[in-house]
């Protein structure tokens, strides 16, 4: 089991204002290779903070995160190298508006992995073809719809060939009719065996795709288990209340 662990979070804390606000208050969890872990919970529960801590976009105030067995919270660790192996998809896409879709996708592999431009572009075109956007390679982000932007954001992260993909509410900023196309890409990714950590409000997606679901509230993990356990027979009162509201 241990050789199978990709990320291990131990006693993670994120306190603001000298401890009066506790976004994360001692979180322990693991992410196994090849699994899809979905984090759910009410807003302000700390689920986004937890996800963003995994690649240190948020610096935790306590605890540790082991990625591939290396403690990335240690100041001596070169976090930039580890981030290359952790793809991230944001709620607001965060595509680079001054670059074409193709350049958005190739800049990191070319500058960081020193791939030849032609090779990076070939890989990017393959990925774009898979998500049905090959014809938009030379468009600028402002010319794309929300769903298209998010699909580009996903394949941009994939261009770095990451070991894990982190999704921070990837469909929350989308018009309802565009949610499906993004979820479809994520489902396909899951089928291919990509390790994924997903913060989402899409309970349907969690139920269908997740291997494991974590329910968070007030900065701690309240309950975790298979989608079946969480959605059909939740043990904790707070989980039940939350699910009653969203289902």
């Amino acid at each position: 089991m241990n050789g199978n662990v990709l990320i291990e979070v131990n006693g993670l804390k994120k306190h603001y204002n000298k401890g009066t606000v506790k976004a994360l208050d001692g979180v322990n969890c693991v992410v196994h290779k090849g699994e899809v872990l979905v984090i759910i919970g009410p807003s302000g529960s700390g689920k986004s903070t937890l996800l963003r801590s995994l690649n240190l976009l948020e610096i935790p105030t306590g605890g540790s995160i082991l990625f591939d067995g290396v403690d990335i919270t240690d100041p001596k660790t070169n976090i930039n190298l580890h981030r290359q192996k952790m793809g991230m998809v944001f709620q607001h896409f965060n595509l680079f508006p001054h670059m074409t879709v193709l350049r958005n996708m190739t800049i990191a592999p070319v500058k960081l992995l020193h791939k030849p431009v032609a090779e990076a572009e070939k890989k990017a075109m393959e990925l774009l073809t898979r998500v049905g956007l090959a014809d938009r390679a030379n468009a600028y982000p402002s010319q794309l719809s929300g769903g298209q932007k998010q699909r580009v954001a996903i394949v941009r992260a994939l261009c770095m060939e990451p070991e894990v993909m982190l999704f921070d509410e990837p469909t929350s900023a989308l018009d309802p009719e565009m949610v499906g196309e993004v979820l479809d890409v994520m489902k396909e990714l899951a089928r291919e065996g990509m390790t994924m950590v997903v913060v989402t409000h899409e309970m349907g997606f969690a139920r269908e795709v997740a291997d494991r679901v974590i329910f968070m509230s007030d900065g701690v993990i309240i309950e975790e288990g298979s989608p079946k356990e969480i959605f059909e027979s939740p043990k904790e009162e707070r989980t039940k209340n939350f699910l009653k509201c969203v289902l």
């Binding site: 610096i59 981030r83 952790m86 965060n94 680079f96 990191a108 500058k111 600028y140 402002s142 770095m160």
Partner: protein, 283 residues
């Protein structure tokens, strides 16, 4: 105003005024046209002679050209120096503002280095923005580079350091206006802070600040007119020298003014074109 020609030698200007008490008043001004043409042709010849005296005699036009080239050289040089200083200072200042909390949490020396750099930058901004550019120029020429015989490089240095302070704050404003998500996207791909700045933030920032930056460049171009204080013959100084030699102030000073105006118009036009080009991605 309508002019009517009478008898071939008089001009009549009818002028209509509305007066509260008297109602409409039409007054006529009659000027002899021969007087005008006489005045005009004589002053034209006079003007030609003055131009000849001001620019051609003793090859004074060459002084004007030298001054013009010096002004261009100082402005272009100071622009370059200012942009480099501006980018560095703005990067340090905005990096400190954005990252001090997380760096403090990360521990290590990074936070302290950045804090000291930020203090140095703030000191620089305060001093440069708090003192007149002429004083800075004279300090540079007469104290810092007292051994220098050539004023132009010293002027480039002084105006560059001065402009850098203003450019830095323009750039900092631009950097702070870029959505934080752009930083996060860059960092999450594995770019370090400087790479994210260089590839992702600065190109967007530059587009955002271009109109303000253009303003600063126009101001800089005109500010270089005080270079004469340290013995540099720039455009203004050249005009002034010629005016002093020929006792004609009108022609040299208006020529100088027109050249500055033309330069500013050309610069604004070029920046406008650049702006349109950069806006391509916003279609």
């Amino acid at each position: 105003m309508v002019s009517v020609v009478l008898h071939g030698s008089f001009l009549v200007y009818p002028e209509v005024k509305i007066n509260k008490r008297k109602g409409m008043v039409i007054s006529m001004t009659v000027i002899s046209t021969t007087a005008i043409t006489d005045w005009f042709s004589s002053s034209l010849a006079d003007f030609g002679a003055k131009l000849q005296m001001v620019f051609v005699e003793e090859d004074r036009y060459q002084q004007m050209i030298r001054g013009f080239l010096n002004t261009l050289q100082i402005t272009a040089g100071a622009l370059g120096v200012g942009i480099i200083i501006g980018i560095v200072v703005a990067a340090i200042r905005s990096s400190y503002d954005k990252n001090k909390e997380s760096l403090k949490l990360r521990g290590g020396v990074g936070y302290h280095i950045l804090r000291i750099l930020n203090l140095i930058c703030r000191f620089y901004l305060t001093v440069i923005r708090g003192t007149p550019v002429v004083v800075q120029l004279m300090i540079a020429y007469l104290i810092i580079f007292a051994s220098s015989k050539n004023g132009v490089p010293v002027a480039i240095f002084a105006f560059g350091v001065n402009s850098g302070a203003y450019v830095a704050e323009i750039f900092r404003g631009g950097i702070m206006s870029i959505d934080g998500g752009q930083f996060e996207a860059g960092r999450s791909l594995g770019f370090n802070y400087l790479q994210t700045m260089w590839h992702i933030i600065i190109p967007q920032m530059f587009k955002a600040v271009l109109p303000t930056l253009c303003n600063e460049f126009i101001a800089l171009l005109k500010e270089t007119s005080v270079a004469g204080y340290v013995g540099v013959v720039d455009l203004t100084k050249a005009g002034n020298i010629i005016a002093g030699r020929t006792f004609n102030y009108f022609i040299p000073l208006f020529t100088v003014a027109l050249v500055y105006l033309a330069l500013v118009v050309i610069l604004s036009w070029l920046v406008g074109r650049l702006e349109r080009r950069l806006r391509r991605s916003e279609r």
